[in-house]
Symmetry: C2
Subunit: 333 residues, 2 copies
């Protein structure tokens, strides 16, 4: 193990077999906010700056450039890593598929623009991939055949790291695990316009839909949630469960069934070392319950071996991963 | 491209950058038959010998040893590759998970026994993996990020080749794609004892179950299949469809829905270059229909890019892959 001291802004070689120690700026671009911090040795070394995500691709790009300039005032930066929603061609650094959260973002030549404007090397990466990269290396699991990081947020994202490297797929769309099918009955339409995607059930918005479906069928005597249907949030269900509300418990149990179904499918395809679970809905996961369900629904070799673990880096993972990816690209290229 | 002439039994170097040309014995061990042939340069170079699979691990091993000795009478063999049903630890060559088709097979130290008894290097591999390896290299797709080969037989098997190499998973159980979940309604139990696995629907036995469910509800005026329920086979349904029987067409349409559901899940996890479809049920696949369904149920980047293709090697794939794997292990080790 390498013991590291933070040494501010200077670039310095550790010598021997160690990697050069560099600072990168890591940015995480989501539908609502743009966050950035200096990353070194897979850790944040400054406070995180956050601004609301501007509307429109041009304004987003300007905000990114401006954040980079801000950080350059106080820090020497070896490169810029950007974790962005949407599908990214990592070779060209172009956003080739976008999400509804970033209208007009598809087509943006993110890497090229940033490199031309800042003269710094840039690595642009899908945000779930960047987060997965950070989590796996933070956990020291870069030697495992496969680790799958699942982000349970408004949607479901996935990142697959194999032997320490991101697997991105033949067309840069690997890890779009939110659109695994977990039913054939055309029961619930996904935001993608197709039926019965995992994301329509196992995500935060899926949780809310399940909650509303169930609460619409109950009487106020059964749960106080019956009177909260109009303005229901997932947090209300979580708080009710904490107070012992049986309807809330039922909802959470069903959601665990929904989540585990996708995990079981992924596990039988990939037989990973472990799953890391992250995202805003991770706090609703009872890992013991999830594990029991997983074992029950898996072949013995899978069920007994594949771990399901909480991720550790939280909302910083995308920034850390993006920063680490640009540094690693400089070291190995 | 290298143009090859078959030169009988001698081992010979091609010189230059070419691989050494070696013969290996490839064996394919299934629940009903044990098949073997000499493999060179990823092709069969002898007739295939087939014997019924004996009952019990000891007798199977003796049959394997005996087949090897038979081929050695006429051929110089550099190694033995064995494709077997069940999960194999490829490092030790031990069968660590078996299938119902080979009772008592789990635990067999296949590689070790064969090497000790024959003094030849042996590579033991899961049969779906061996077949996938052969198909990918036969198609010249060893440079693709991922190719997924799906065997639609009595069950569903899968093999994942990434950049020309087999991906076997952290616990040797990767590619157990038959146990992806395609439903949450506990409607159909799989042979594994769990509910709503892909294999319970998309395999040959799944096809038969779907056929029986549908035919049990129809009247003889609707289809001649109504009178064949007791002894129904998939072939009868196929023949009826060829004659324009609407019930048979309905069954085949539903089965396409079942098969595509698993393909869509795998595609969104892995974004492969293509799927190869093989196995006894491949002849029931209408590739045009499958492709339309696949596009309809996939994100655009996946649907428009990921191909679904018939595999080309048929039942020889396992033998060829096993033989190639042992040769490749000799060349690269």
């Amino acid at each position: 193990m390498m013991v590291l001291t933070k040494d501010g802004d200077t670039q310095q070689m550790d010598g021997g077999t160690h990697k050069p120690r560099m600072n990168a700026l890591g940015l995480d671009l989501g539908g609502t906010k743009l966050a950035a911090a200096i990353i070194s040795n897979s850790q944040l070394v400054t406070e995180v700056k956050k601004i609301p995500t501007p509307k429109g691709a041009d304004k987003i790009v300007e905000a990114v450039i401006s954040l980079i300039a801000d950080f350059q005032k106080d820090h020497l930066i070896a490169g810029v890593g950007i974790a962005t929603a949407g599908v990214v061609n990592v070779e060209t650094g172009q956003v080739i598929g976008s999400t509804g959260n970033l209208p007009g973002w598809e087509g943006t030549k993110l890497k090229q623009i940033v490199e031309e404007r800042t003269m710094l090397p840039c690595h642009a990466e899908n945000d779930a991939n960047a987060a997965a990269y950070a989590e796996v290396h933070a956990a020291g699991l870069g030697d495992k055949q496969a680790v799958v990081t699942i982000t349970l947020g408004t949607g479901i994202g996935g990142g697959l790291v194999m032997n320490g490297k991101l697997y991105r797929g033949q067309h840069w769309a690997g890890g779009e695990v939110g659109h695994l099918k977990i039913g054939m009955e055309n029961k619930r339409m996904c935001t993608c316009g197709r039926w019965d995607c995992w994301e329509a059930y196992g995500s935060g918005s899926g949780f809310l839909r399940t909650s509303k479906e169930i609460i619409a069928t109950i009487k106020p005597e059964q749960s106080a949630l019956a009177n909260k249907l109009a303005n229901l949030t997932n947090e209300m269900v979580g708080e009710a469960a904490d107070k012992g509300d049986p309807v809330a418990h039922k909802i959470i149990d069903i959601w665990h069934e929904h989540v585990v179904t996708g995990l079981v499918s992924l596990a039988h395809a990939l037989d990973p070392y472990c799953f890391f679970i992250t995202g805003g809905m991770e706090k609703f996961v009872n890992f013991e319950t999830m594990r029991e369900l997983f074992i029950d629904r898996s072949l013995p070799l899978i069920g007994k071996n594949v771990k399901i673990l909480p991720a550790t880096l939280g909302t910083d993972a995308g920034m850390i991963g993006a920063g680490s990816l640009v540094i690693d690209s400089l070291v190995t290229s």
